[in-house]
């Protein structure tokens, strides 16, 4: 201070004279602002913790991407987020970092948010309740009804954090955005109410990105990395054993587990032994970032416990922590993780930066602002109707393929929320689990990269389709990008059922998507034993794969036998023996009473007979349900009001014209039983492709399916109506050693055939069913009897 006005111009003006330097600074600043716009104003930011505003009228202020916000608790206890900007002349309404609106401010009244400048006042929800001299100044042209504050999307969750998204149409809802990323610590942070017991901030002279990437080196000691969509990842020290928790639900004061979850673009939840450290970044400039550090502890702590935690916290995260306390890895592993983590982070970063400016141009923002229609990707394509597909898996990709094979020339765009190129699902429970690293073998890709180019199929991954407007014929993707279509094909597939008790437990998985398989594969590399709930195909395949890795495997099936819903009894017995021979413990006719976990990490299950099975990881494979919410929300008819598969006609068209549904999400109105299989995905895809290109609809084939377990290959054709008492099976020895097949009949009529290690017989069985022939059930067990052309036409 006391600075002299008239120096030589450099000191006072703050605007350097050197023009080229000036330009450089300007450009750097523009790049910084772009990041703020593209990334920070679109992601979910944990702005504070609910314990920082405990009572009605309490508030906290913060900022996201240069814009200031107020978080306040309404009288009904709800937490709201508002832009901290006065609608009159833009004054920062609340300047304090924290406080209560119960007391009136100098220019205002109690229970009001008051702008000190001209005394406009607002309630906790952002309604404007007072404009000074309203009528005198604005007559009938403007009134407080026009002066509401800007309300922001705000959710409280994941350990009581307050999450705010500056975008009205976030790429994903909070739960979708975080996905499974916090699951490794979910149990800990949600088991008992937490409060912030430590707060300090640091301004670091480096860009936020560098700060985050530098921090990754410290992850090196945390051996296992898990990758999640949207650039999130988690690392944990699976080696270190945790101290049992006793009654205390939060990690006990002497716990040692360490898990670090990085949420993109820089919000870190670090559970380290007895403490939870959460750091959030706020970029200040291109080369400056503010890091806020919070330490959390259960509200129920005793003084001693608090002290123990605090001590631990300060030694690792406090402002006066000894240097390098997080230093190199306890288990001597090389610091090899950070490149992959950086890559995962950078890829996400590029995606955000490019989405707005390189691919779609600045269109995206304008589309949102003006609510206009736009078609960012399809415009330049060849002529023809525009086809948009939701879901890039077996059904969606097969559909695009068939469409082109039918000489369709219009644009095709496929949107999928998954990360990376679409992969085959079947290998995920099989060979994929035996693989090592995180690298996705290109042989598991549904199509190679080139295919998309050659076939002019636009694939947009990490793109969630949020809604369908069947009247406007548009879908809304991610940030509110609106894409129009002439024909829409919903291939959104199915989602695995979960057991509620497993939600949020670390090392508890379901298996559907490549990312699930990846997580299982990585966890399995650090685990010795696994419990698999569900003795269906997926459960048994996973059992076989993990058994092959030498793990102790237990399969628990509630029904009286395995494969109860999908296979005949003799086949099930065959597989039961197979698994037992390989040393898998199979429990049938028994339920799971309790999921045990230590510090939120899966520890075992308690069966309904009271027995406990301890294990390092859990996989739940208890079936799927159609992912039809998108369609149901758009008013497209589904099996039940609250969901079920999308109902389609024989051309796969839904109840709404020009909207088709295929694959696991769909079911034909005349079909009684859903068949979730690759074959069904492909078949329904060809039907829809034929319908759209006005070709004759292909004939419906008999459903077929396969499964690989150990060295055993099952192929089945037709559907075995399990549970129907008039169905019986006849076994037929295989052509080769170890081969066998089970022929299911109703009366004299062949219904389905299940073939083990006997491809030739499978071909014959398929031919029989396709041509509606029924070989004689009395002779079929005779290996010399040929089932083909044996004269037994089915009725």
């Amino acid at each position: 201070m006391g600075q002299i006005v008239t120096n030589d111009g450099q000191n006072v003006s703050g605007s350097p004279k050197n023009d080229s330097l000036n330009d450089t600074l300007k450009r750097a600043n523009e790049a910084f602002i772009k990041e703020q716009q593209n990334i920070f104003k679109n992601v979910w930011v944990p702005v504070c913790h609910e314990s920082e505003l405990l009572n009605p009228y309490d508030f906290r202020t913060s900022s996201i991407g240069n814009d200031n916000i107020i978080i306040c608790r309404a009288p009904d206890g709800k937490v709201n987020a508002l832009l901290n900007v006065c609608p009159h002349r833009g004054m920062l309404i609340e300047r304090r970092p924290q406080g209560s609106f119960l007391e009136g401010q100098a220019s205002g009244n109690p229970k009001r948010i008051t702008c000190m400048f001209h005394a406009w006042q607002f309630d906790m929800r952002g309604n404007c309740v007072y404009v000074a001299r309203e009528k005198e100044g604005y007559q009938d042209r403007f009134c407080k009804d026009d002066a509401g504050l800007r309300r922001l999307r705000c959710s409280v969750g994941f350990g009581g954090f307050v999450w705010v998204n500056m975008s009205d149409q976030p790429v994903a809802l909070l739960e979708e955005w975080i996905g499974g990323a916090l699951s490794p610590i979910m149990r800990q942070i949600s088991s008992s109410p937490l409060e912030v017991v430590h707060y300090h901030k640091e301004i670091i002279q480096t860009g936020y990105k560098d700060e985050i990437l530098n921090g990754l080196e410290r992850n090196a000691g945390l051996a296992a990395n898990l990758f999640f969509p949207f650039g999130h990842f988690a690392s944990h020290n699976a080696d270190e054993k945790t101290v049992p928790n006793g009654e205390n639900k939060f990690p006990a004061p002497n716990a040692t587990k360490s898990v670090k979850v990085n949420l993109f673009p820089g919000y870190i939840f670090h559970l380290s032994g007895p403490t939870l450290h959460v750091s959030t970044i706020t970029p200040v400039s291109q080369n400056q970032v503010m890091v806020e550090n919070r330490g959390l502890a259960p509200t129920s702590d005793s003084e001693q416990e608090r002290l123990a935690r605090s001590k631990h916290y300060n030694s690792i995260f406090g402002p006066f922590r000894p240097l390098k306390s997080e230093g190199p890895t306890p288990n001597g592993k090389p610091e090899s993780n950070s490149p992959e983590l950086s890559k995962h982070y950078n890829e996400e970063w590029v995606r955000w930066m490019e989405k707005h400016y390189n691919e779609n141009g600045s269109l995206t923002n304008r589309v949102v602002a003006q609510g206009q229609k736009a078609n960012p990707n399809l415009e330049s394509e060849a002529s023809g109707p525009k086809v948009v597909v939701v879901g890039a898996s077996h059904a969606g990709i097969a559909f695009a393929d068939k469409l082109r094979k039918n000489n369709f020339t219009g644009p095709i765009a496929i949107f999928d929320r998954q990360v990376g190129g679409p992969m085959e699902r079947p290998p995920l429970s099989k060979g994929f689990l035996l693989g090592g690293g995180e690298i996705v073998e290109s042989k598991s890709l549904l199509r190679q990269k080139k295919w998309y180019k050659t076939n002019k199929v636009r694939l947009k991954t990490q793109s969630i389709v949020h809604s369908v407007d069947t009247k406007q014929k548009t879908i809304t993707v991610n940030n509110g990008v609106v894409v129009n279509y002439d024909k829409l094909v919903i291939a959104s597939g199915a989602k695995p059922r979960e057991l509620p008790d497993t939600v949020g437990v670390a090392n508890a998985f379901t298996l559907r998507q490549p990312s699930d398989a990846n997580a299982i594969r990585q966890a399995a590399n650090n685990a010795d034993s696994v419990v698999i709930i569900g003795g269906g195909y997926i459960g048994l395949e996973v059992a076989a794969s993990l058994r092959k890795k030498g793990m102790v495997v237990s399969v628990i099936e509630a029904a009286e036998r395995i494969l109860a819903r999908v296979a005949s009894k003799p086949l099930a017995e065959h597989f039961q023996k197979l698994h037992e021979k390989h040393g898998v413990n199979i429990f049938t006719g028994i339920g799971v009473d309790k999921i045990n976990h230590e510090d939120g990490i899966f520890a075992g299950v308690v069966l309904s007979d009271g027995n406990e099975i301890k294990a390092d990881m859990l996989i739940t494979g208890i079936g799927v349900f159609p992912d039809s919410k998108l369609a149901a929300d758009a008013g497209i008819e589904t099996q039940r009001e609250d969901g079920g598969a999308i109902l389609v006609d024989e051309a796969m068209q839904t109840s709404v014209k020009d909207v088709y549904a295929i694959g696991d999400v769909s079911i034909r109105r005349d079909q009684s039983l859903a068949v979730e299989s690759v074959h069904n995905a492909q078949e329904t895809a060809s039907i829809a492709a034929a319908a759209i290109t006005n070709n004759a609809l292909p004939a419906i084939q008999t459903p077929w399916f396969w499964s690989d377990q150990y060295d055993t290959k099952l192929q089945s054709v037709g559907i075995v109506p399990v549970g129907e008492s008039d169905i019986y099976q006849v076994a037929r020895p295989g052509k080769k050693e170890g081969g066998i097949s089970f022929w299911s009949y109703r009366d004299e009529n062949l219904i389905a055939v299940e073939v083990v290690n006997d491809p030739a017989t499978y071909m014959e069985a398929r031919q029989c069913l396709d041509t509606k022939q029924s070989p004689d059930p009395k002779q079929i067990s005779n290996r010399s009897y040929s089932p083909i052309d044996s004269g037994g036409a089915r009725s």
Binding site: G2, S63, N68, R95, R96, P97, A106, K201, V284, M290
Partner: protein, 166 residues
Amino acid sequence: MTNASAVEIEKKIEKIIYRTALALDDNDWKSWFDLCDDAFFYSITSFSPEINKKMTYFSGNKKELVGLMDMLPKHNTDHSPLHRHTSVYTVEVADEGQSAKAISSVTIYQNMLDGINSHLDSGESRLFVIGKYFDEFKIEDGNPKFLSRETKLDNRRLDKGSHWPL
């Protein structure tokens, strides 16, 4: 007056200056006023080389000050706490121990709270002003009370300024 009692008074004066610093740091106006005689007069001054003059930036007697401090809640104020570092440089006792003068150096820091952009700024400490206290005391029964304080600032750049005496 004996040397011993002069030293004692000097000690007391140092103490009262430090106690004042603590009271002011806490915005505890009452405790501050309790240390002041009813005839107390306060001012903040500075010299400007720009206009080549000694200036008074703020002044008031005890009654006026009490009135102003009572009014503070009605004003919109920057509540960032001020924190002084004071060193008593000289104490001169005169009038046979009836009066005294002291000069102290003062550096005042502002610990940002609701300043400008509290999300970034709050919790940060900034240098606010530097200067000297020129104090005069009346001593009755060996107990000093402030008769006047002139806070002589070196600053002429004061940015947002303050509603509080320094």
